[in-house]
């Protein structure tokens, strides 16, 4: 019986000839990523070693990544002290994949991992962040876990009691119309599947649209797979994966494409044609409350946010800058831009995008997660409405339960910044 790509990855990582959905395995972990919540991981890690007579030493420091992104630079003493503790732990154990608060090497974890070539096709990646699903874009099985589970990985080097998830095959066909792209596709999919439609399942992406999609776009669809509940999204490795890893991530060692078998068993198949897809909006307060932009056009906005691990990459900023070039952000609306990494920030600076944003009246912020989850800058006032290229619109997500968040693509966000209301970029946001 054939295997899906995740069944194959888990078989290899568990040293088994094969696995199938429902099997329980203990896969070796290739990369274990944490951010500020590394503070809790360290605490739980020390708990595991308590009264064992053994020194708490991680199984393999070269496979641990620690990246500061949620509250950078620290917004208060508690975060700063957490940063200090994690920094000390990284130094003590020689953790080289440590990305401190820096303009050169810093950034959002889900951008740093691909950018630095830390993720490879066929890898098992775990992260103490639900959007760890992102790294399926490079053909890895990558999923979010809690801090205690991460502490267990640090101690043992394996993920314990992992049930091999069933897979939903998503086949995407057609060419995106102008101003429609990966974000609209994944919002459309989440709307179809619902917020729990893929709970405990993998979304494996196929089809000509995915083949033609850049790694940047694949990161968007895998990133938000978790919003349908998915354990992971995954795009089996192909030429584009190899191009990205070689030319953008500087990977020189052999790349092993792990692919699903032709006779793999899928739980179900979802087919989507994007050729007539419209720009999509996720309305408050669930990500599966998805509507075509026309149905919510005209909604007044006090804040626009472009950035995050979902849509803070160079092509996202380029799409927004193209629309905002020579235009102004509407009075009464504020616009925040936060590139996903220091590298992207520098590239956007060089390309002139940041200047375009600033001349339009947007505030360009340092790379980080802050506004997306209401933990650091960009909070909303009572009754305010935001439109964001981020990934969640839960009640209170942007720091205030009395506000509303709508989600969209960079093109819709930019077109709407000019008008101050939700605007279809096809209808003259240009």
């Amino acid at each position: 019986m054939g295997m899906t790509v995740v069944e194959k990855i888990l078989a290899r990582a568990a040293g088994l000839p094969a696995t199938k959905a429902g099997d329980v395995v203990e896969p070796r972990v290739d990369l274990a990523m944490s951010h500020e919540n590394g503070a809790l991981v360290i605490n739980q890690f020390k708990e595991i070693y308590k009264d064992t007579g053994r020194e708490p030493k991680p199984w393999d420091p070269s496979r641990i990544a620690l990246i500061f992104d949620h509250r950078v630079p620290a917004e208060g003493p508690k975060t700063a002290t957490n940063h200090k503790m994690i920094r000390g732990f990284a130094a003590q154990h020689g953790i080289c994949k440590f990305h401190d608060i820096r303009g050169d090497r810093g950034g959002i974890c889900h951008q740093i991992l691909p950018e630095y070539g830390y993720v490879r096709p066929g890898s098992v990646v775990v992260g103490t962040d639900s959007h760890t699903t992102s790294h399926g874009a490079l053909g890895a099985f990558s999923f979010g876990i809690g801090a205690t589970e991460m502490a267990s990985v640090w101690a043992l080097g394996v993920a314990l009691n992992i049930e091999v998830p069933p897979t939903i095959k998503v086949v995407v066909r057609g060419r995106f119309p102008e101003f429609v792209g990966p974000k609209d596709l994944i919002l459309h999919i989440i709307g179809k599947l619902t917020a729990q439609g893929a709970n405990f399942r993998v979304l494996e992406f196929h089809g000509e649209t995915i083949t033609a999609m850049s790694t940047s776009g694949r990161l968007v669809i895998c990133n938000m797979s978790v919003e349908a509940g998915a354990t992971s999204g995954i795009v089996p490795a192909d030429d584009e994966t190899e191009r990205y890893l070689r030319t953008e991530a500087g990977v020189t060692d052999p790349i092993d494409r792990v692919l699903p078998d032709a006779d793999a068993v899928y739980e179900s198949v979802l087919e989507i044609d994007v050729s007539k897809l419209e720009p999509q909006i996720a309305c408050p307060h669930t990500v599966d409350n998805v509507k075509p932009v026309q149905q919510v056009a005209g909604k007044a906005l006090q804040q626009i946010v472009i950035g995050s691990c979902t849509n803070g990459r160079l092509d996202d900023l380029a799409a927004a800058a193209r629309i905002l070039e020579g235009k102004k952000v509407a009075e009464g609306t504020r616009m925040l831009v936060f590139p996903a990494s220091g590298r992207i920030y520098a590239q956007a600076l060089e390309a002139g995008y940041l200047k375009t944003f600033m001349k339009a009246g947007a505030v360009v912020m340092n790379p980080g997660c802050g506004p997306c989850l209401g933990v650091h800058q960009g909070a909303l006032g009572d009754g305010e409405v935001a439109l964001a290229t981020t990934n969640r619109n839960f009640k209170g997500r942007m720091g205030n339960p009395k506000s509303e968040v709508y989600l969209c693509s960079p093109a819709v966000a930019a077109a709407s910044a000019i008008t101050g209301v939700i605007t279809d970029p096809r209808a003259g946001g240009r």
């Binding site: 199984w59 509250r71 809690g146 989850l373 933990v375």
Partner: protein, 165 residues
């Protein structure tokens, strides 16, 4: 036996259970104060110890969706509440099991705030309405972690079975 102290709808996110702005607080001893923080009245009742340990939070489908923040599970655990939900999001379920939070999957549960619930073998009994609802057992692989008292002792045991590094 315990009272239903909070009845929730579907897709209750971990942002609802433990808002992001308190995420710099990580220790299980400190997180309970922010449990359901933005449900102001309920949070106040929790923090003033007006809610008895063993009380029930009852939710519809997809409880605990969203962020992997473990604080959401540790905050509820700290108040010793039971959670009965029609279905539970994956990461939250795993976090709850790892920390020893009492979590019951009960796809047909019907209960209102104030109802008395009792946990029995394979079912939840609503003493107030007299109705019974079948529960879904956790997969055996997860039950092993619960039986060990959580993931910390479970991992410790595994660690001690290996030679020291």
């Amino acid at each position: 036996m315990g009272k239903v102290v909070l009845k929730l709808g579907r897709d209750i996110s971990t942002d609802d259970i433990y808002p992001g702005r308190f995420m710099a607080t990580v220790l299980p001893t400190e997180t309970p104060q922010f449990c359901f923080h933005d449900r102001t009245e309920f949070n106040a009742r929790l923090n003033s110890k007006q809610i008895a340990p063993g009380s029930f939070v009852v939710a519809d489908e997809n409880f605990g969706c969203g962020s992997s923040r473990e604080q959401a599970a540790s905050a509820i655990r700290g108040h010793e509440l039971n959670v009965v939900a029609r279905s539970i999001a994956r990461i939250f379920m795993q976090n709850a099991i790892n920390l020893g939070l009492s979590l019951i999957i009960c796809p047909t549960i019907e209960a209102s705030e104030g109802d008395e619930l009792e946990l029995a073998e394979g079912k939840v009994v609503n003493k107030t309405t007299g109705k019974q609802f079948a529960t879904v057992p956790l997969p055996p692989a997860r039950q092993a972690i619960i039986d060990a008292g959580g993931l910390v002792p479970y991992t410790r045991k595994k660690l001690l079975e290996q030679p020291a590094r």
